[in-house]
Amino acid sequence: MSNTLPPNLQSSIFDYILALADDELVIGHRASEWTGLGPILEEDIAFSSIAQDELGHALTFYTLLEGLDGGDADDLAFLRGSAEFRNAQLCELPRGDFAFSLVRHFLYDLAEAVRLDRLADSAYPPLAQAAAKIRQEEKYHLMHGRTWVQKLARGGDEARAHLQTALDLAYPAAAGLFEPVEDEAELVAAGLVPPSAEVAASWREVVVPFLSSAGFTVPVGTSHLGGRYGQHTEYLSQLLDAMQALYRTDPEASW
């Protein structure tokens, strides 16, 4: 398929890519909140690098939206209000303690890995190319998260308890990563994106045995949905207030 889509698919793929971009931007901003505050220097550097990667990925996806008449990438990131954001609620939750940030990112990175693997085969070339590029970088995030979850799982009762508490909060929210955008069925039928239900199933096939074998209880709880339709917790507005303040004050500022 060419880079030009029929108008109905163009608006649906816009929504889909906007969700990907917003996930990256918001969770990237949360990762950046560890800069200067990491529990050890290596993790300060790791979360700062992960943040920088995710912002790069967000920019890549927002740039695709520019090509779909979405306007300027910076305006998309910094001038929309929380009801216009399409990220999963998982991404906006406060950074919490180190265990929460770690578990949240691990669940997210794995979801992204599974989704990007499928999107690399998208019939929409700009999306396929971006996915193929980004999934390579994500492998380092996954390596980081996996190593730490396994390490802390062997770290004694206190470490295990922190991780389990984090998992109880993050796991139900992670379901929102697989909430389909409106008209996803059209995109699937055209071969542009994989069905979100299939991506979720692949994710669970990996994540459930991994967590179980590390000795954690995989929580059963109500999924936090609505993010793909602009429903968010109060934490997103707080995040946007901080993240957008400079651009909103002076869009011409250069730094």
Binding site: I45, S48, D53, Q129, K133, E137, K139, M143
Partner: protein
């Protein structure tokens, strides 16, 4: 004045990666194509890591260098395909990295997963020992990981495989 494609490629050897100043954008493998029509030049580049803050600097550096050749119009375009991999880094650049204590990435022929499983197989740029351990997959820049060499007891950086 008519420029040739060869002249432009040669000039691009003068444009360096700001994070590894002895390595050119050509050696780094980020230049995808050079096209010349009369004295209008189009250069297509691709990022190493997508979030790399050096990319806009290299883009500007390329435009400036090509303008200095006498080009009337310069267009530097960023394209993600074909995707950059660290295998594109030239042997000359790999040798230069060694001299500043930066281990070059192992070649992986698009089998990055395999290489990541075998991360300890990175040679120390100081003493060439393979008795090394990955300390942190993240380092001072997006493209670097931190290692430690047990043989010479030196920490060192590695340009990450991608």
């Amino acid at each position: 004045m008519n420029l040739t494609v060869g002249q432009v490629w040669e000039a691009l050897e003068d444009v360096k990666d700001p994070e590894i100043p002895m390595v050119s954008v050509v050696e780094l493998g980020i230049v995808q194509a050079v096209e010349v029509e009369g004295d209008a030049v189009r250069v297509v580049i691709t990022p190493t890591f997508t979030g790399c803050p050096a990319l806009p600097m290299m883009r500007e550096g390329i435009a400036e260098r090509v303008r200095a050749l006498g080009a009337s119009a310069v267009d530097v375009e960023v394209c993600l395909s074909p995707r950059w991999t660290s295998d594109r880094i030239a042997p000359s650049a790999r040798a230069k990295m060694q001299t500043i204590g930066l281990a070059p990435p192992p070649r992986h022929a698009d089998r990055l997963d395999l290489v990541l499983e075998l991360t300890p197989l990175v040679r120390c740029p100081y003493c060439a020992s393979s008795d090394t351990v990955l300390e942190n997959p993240f380092g001072p820049t997006l493209c670097r990981a931190m290692y430690y060499c047990h043989a010479c007891q030196q920490p060192f950086e590695q340009f990450k495989a991608l």
